[in-house]
């Protein structure tokens, strides 16, 4: 089992509940933001010392949900602070961006890091489409075309042009080219059946950022595997990443209290604005198919359930190190994944508790999953 350390970089210094979209940025204090960036980057770099195999950055816009409007900037910072850990961009939101800029920045990160980049080609969540004024209905088609174009930009030995539906370029020859050959390892989101199928189509790794239910995760993994087989390859466990929240402590009740408080802050403060935007998208576009609409509502309900229920369902890791080992073994037995993406900064869980928890996870959880590492 490989372990990825994931961070949303939330802005936690403005605890007011809000449903506004976009979240007014007068609530952002740049001085506090500076301190938070420092704390978070220190924490993410510490993941290498704690034995994590990957450290993960991701992209979000216009809310306290996350301060990584461009995760590649954080990735570049982490590269300078680390030696071995893989730098996972999970991811750039490909349909919203200039694909050539993504190809260039990812190539820069790969060269800067000596080939440590894991290149996420993610579709993103609905509010990002509102933020960047891109039609959510085009999300899948843009993802498909842009991903092909990015791979082309990495791998073509001669200058080329591209005449597409969404993207047109007449002369492309990016500098630098990536170190990894034929190109950096790609990971794609598996948040819907179609996304899972696209990941299989591209021969990419597949990642569920946060599993909703075990049944849903199994369905998505099956869709991914079936798609991969249709395209002539067989995914390994190491091609499948599953994301889980983690709260760990010597005292199981303390861990539950942390996660409960963090989830409440996440739901009421960090997630309020983006839920408003998501509702707008849900009602006015085809971003979600009917199947996804149902699952989105299920996910909303899931946000209200207790930590005990989450643990019982296998969708969060919480408790003493021994309990966490047992919980993770259950998830592994159910999903057969090879990479666990750990998110410890749920809401406003204190950073000191997270740092202590990372060490505890390294010393008392990771050793139980050494096989194949």
């Amino acid at each position: 089992m490989e372990f990825a350390y994931f961070h949303l970089m939330p802005y936690t210094a403005s605890p007011e509940t809000t449903k506004d979209w976009p979240v007014p940025n007068h609530r952002f204090d740049p001085e506090i933001g500076h301190e938070l960036y420092t704390t978070y980057i220190d924490n993410m770099a510490y993941a290498e010392e704690c034995g994590f195999d990957w450290v993960g950055c991701n992209e979000h816009h216009m809310s306290p949900f996350g301060m990584m409007a461009n995760p590649n900037i954080i990735g570049a910072s982490l590269i300078q602070r680390t030696k071995k850990i893989k730098i996972a961009m999970v991811g750039n939101l490909i349909p919203l961006l200039n694909p050539l800029r993504v190809a260039e920045e990812y190539a820069m990160l790969d060269v800067l890091s000596g080939g440590r980049l894991i290149a996420g080609m993610f579709r993103g969540i609905p509010h990002e489409y509102v933020a960047y004024n891109v039609s959510p209905s085009e999300s899948y088609d843009r993802l498909l075309e842009a991903t092909q174009l990015i791979i082309k930009a990495w791998t073509e030995p001669e200058p080329f042009g591209w005449e597409g539906e969404f993207y047109q370029y007449r002369a492309v020859s990016i500098w630098p080219r990536p170190i990894q050959k034929p190109h950096p390892r790609i990971i794609m989101s598996g948040s819907s059946k179609r996304s899972a199928e696209i990941a299989g189509q591209f021969g990419a790794m597949f990642g569920i950022a946060q599993i909703k239910t075990m049944e849903n995760a199994r369905e998505l993994i099956d869709a991914y595997k079936n798609s991969a087989r249709e395209h002539g390859w067989e995914p390994k466990p190491s091609d499948i990443l599953v994301g889980l929240s983690l709260a760990i402590s010597e005292d199981a009740d303390e861990a539950k209290e942390m996660l409960t408080g963090g989830r409440k802050f996440f739901a009421e403060v960090l997630g309020g604005g983006i839920r408003t935007a998501q509702q707008l998208v849900l009602h006015k576009s085809r971003y979600y198919d009917d199947e996804m609409k149902g699952k989105f509502i299920d996910a909303r309900k899931a946000a209200m359930i207790s930590v005990d229920d989450l643990i019982e369902a296998g969708t969060a890791l919480c408790g003493t190190p021994e309990q966490v080992v047992e919980q993770l073994r259950y998830v592994e037995s159910q999903l057969g994944h090879g990479v666990t993406n750990i998110n410890m900064k749920t809401g406003n869980i204190p950073d000191e508790a997270i740092t202590a928890g990372m060490k505890m996870f390294q010393e008392r959880v990771m050793p139980a999953f050494q096989n194949g590492r």
Binding site: Q148, K152, P159, F160, G161, E163, Y167
Partner: protein
Amino acid sequence: MSFTEKTASLSKGSVKYHVGGEGRPILYLHSGGGIRVTQPVLDLAENHTVFMMVTPGFDGTDYLDGVDTMEGMAELAKEFIDSEIGEKCDLIGYSFGGWVACWLAVLHGDLVDQIILQAPAGFRGKDAPGLPTDPAEFVKVMYAHPEKIPSEDKPEDVLKHNREAMGHYHSGAPMDNALVARLGEIENLVLVVHGTEDGAIPKESMQLLKSKLNRSHLVYVYDAAHGLEIDQPERVSLLVNDFLARGEGFLVNWGDEAAGFEAVSKA
């Protein structure tokens, strides 16, 4: 826009051709499917006089004695330009026709101006897979959107005969090494166009061509296979007409005013 069928009397015999449109002349050398007046050809004819020469042996025509090589076809095309066009022209070669176009440019580059090679044949590596013989599989390889094939397309027996006719002009070797060795002699400005889903001609062929041609641009048409004029007619038209109208300036995005053939037709 209608095309008229005519006959040219050349030194080796008669050659049929279709001509349509008005404007700067352009010679169009067809693919192994034979003549097809597709939407991009019609768009081209908005601003050009398009001469579509039928390769002898295709579309029910007879072979000509002494014309049985790719170089021989290029010489025939040269004589066609002299006889029917009468001035320097632009040149489009599609697949099999792209192969002929390359030989024409090597042997008589002074007779043509800008060249467009659409998925040209003749540069397939020895490891490139052959084309399937099963008609259904063949369609899958040739088209990303077979549903766009016009219902009035040629009968399968004609298409099959056309495919066989290609063998009259070359040995079947995937790579024309003699031609590759001379590609550097071409001084014309060349646009190479290839579909991202082309299952007949691999992208490595286009990369080889791009690396050998002195003044060339390679553009991939997204979501198009070998039959790119059928799969993505609008993208092909935009690209081809912009290149023909602006030459190397087609690299620059001029916004709405550079919308290829539309801009040209408004001028």
